[in-house]
């Protein structure tokens, strides 16, 4: 090749390199999206391309997604479900990991969600059944119209939530259960030592108030619980959750009796024992500043 041709090719290449190509600047029928939710330290992520209905109704039982199809609830590459710790989906154990997500579509009855550890699969190539797959019966219901296929967690609790896939008016739901990071229960033999009435004395009382109140520790429903007298509107009766030897943090209950918030590291109760008996305690916050003390009373 003559030297001049090399020069011309190089010039052409340099010209091309100057053309602005914004990364991934391309219109897609189904744009990539992610849904991430943290629940008590367990991270769930759904990564999926999001098709729009584009006037197609019904979506299911049609060309878009026909009955009996093994369909990925997304588009392009299969939807990917990733969990950082072991969870349950509708009661089925799912080890931590990364899975492609498929749904067996049925006109009546539940669908079946299939999680396959081979997660990089194009939507046109649903995997054959294998022993490594996890299959979860998945209820389907009707819901208000959503144009873009959407994964979400519309319900959350301290122990899990509802993972929902919705497209059009069809909604498939998976109840997620996570492993609790703290044990709210406590053996009665351990708990009884703390039960009793204490004088609670705030270090920084509200001006005009003594900052002294009664602090009542009880054992109820396999948990150590506490409350103030007079009652504290925000804390109410709360769980004293043991997080270390004689170290506790409050767990706040909702109206259903479910823990909805744990106040670690913002509020820590540390008991001190005299002759084996918890007799006093200190309450410290995030910065380890002493906020209150408690002394056992007869």
């Amino acid at each position: 090749m003559p030297f001049s041709d090399h020069v011309n090719r190089l010039a052409g290449l340099l010209l091309l390199l100057q053309v602005p190509f914004p990364a991934a600047a391309q219109i897609r029928a189904s744009e990539l999206g992610t849904m991430t939710q943290l629940i008590d330290g367990t991270k769930l992520t759904v990564t999926y391309s999001r098709p729009r209905t584009r006037g197609r109704q019904p979506l299911f039982g049609s060309k878009a997604a026909h009955w009996g199809e093994v369909w990925t609830p997304g588009a392009n590459w299969a939807t990917v479900f990733e969990v950082s710790k072991d969870v349950t989906l509708n009661g089925r154990p799912v080890p931590k990991g990364k899975y492609s997500v498929w749904m067996v579509l049925r006109e009546t009855g539940d669908w079946t969600t299939v999680l396959d550890p081979r997660w990089r699969i194009f939507h046109m190539n649903p995997p054959d059944s294998s022993v490594t797959q996890i299959r979860v019966s998945t209820p389907v219901s009707q819901a208000p119209f959503v144009d873009v296929l959407t994964w979400s967690m519309p319900e959350l609790s301290a122990t899990g939530g509802t993972l929902a896939m919705q497209w059009g008016t069809t909604r498939a739901t998976l109840k997620v259960g996570v492993s609790p990071s703290l044990d709210v229960t406590m053996p009665e033999a351990d708990a009884q030592a703390y039960v009793g009435r204490y004088e609670y004395r705030e270090v920084w009382p509200t001006p005009g108030r003594t900052g002294v109140s009664a602090f009542i520790v009880t054992y109820d429903n396999k948990s150590l619980k506490a409350r103030w007298e007079p009652n504290d509107d925000y804390m109410q009766t709360f769980a004293l959750i043991r997080v270390g030897p004689d170290i506790f943090t409050p767990g706040l209950y909702d109206k259903d009796g479910t823990i909805y918030e744990v106040l670690r590291p913002d509020m820590m109760f540390t008991f001190k024992r005299v002759v084996g008996q918890p007799t006093t305690f200190s309450v410290r916050g995030l910065s380890d500043v002493l906020e209150a003390t408690g002394t056992r009373k007869p």
Binding site: S84, P205, D233, Y234, I247, P265, M267, G285
Partner: protein, 132 residues
């Protein structure tokens, strides 16, 4: 009676701070072994904390116990940073403890429990109980 809610709001910076946490949640913290001959030579001095006089006592407290602070793993996420070794690292160089309430709280707890005569093992348990 003081509102416990007000108390929590007064200290309630842990939520945003804990967003820094990068370690796998729920995993037991592995505390570092104090390095042989470690000193507090790199812990920021008061002159370097002129903008934060409220933290000088805390840094002084860590400076007094480098071998203890070097045996504690901080839970705020700074353990993932390059060059980090222990809670002592939070008080050196760029010193995340200048801004991070977790580094500060773990430091104060460590100083207090050491002053009370608790062993490194006991201090680790208390740090894990609150910040783990």
């Amino acid at each position: 009676m003081m509102g416990r809610r007000a108390f929590l709001f007064s200290v309630g910076v842990a939520g945003p701070a804990m967003l820094l946490v990068k370690r796998s949640a729920g995993a037991a913290a592995v505390h570092p072994t104090p390095r042989k001959g470690i000193t507090a030579a790199k812990v920021l001095a008061s002159a370097q904390l002129a903008a934060r006089p409220d933290l000088q006592e805390l840094f002084d407290g860590i400076r007094a116990i480098p071998a203890v602070a070097d045996g504690i793993r901080c839970s705020c996420g700074c353990a993932e940073l390059p060059g980090y070794y222990s809670l002592l690292s939070c008080y050196e160089g760029d010193a995340m403890a200048k801004i991070c309430p977790i580094c500060q709280g773990a430091g104060r707890l460590t100083i207090r429990l050491h002053a009370e005569g608790q062993t490194l093992g006991q201090i680790r348990v208390a740090v894990d109980a609150q910040y783990g």
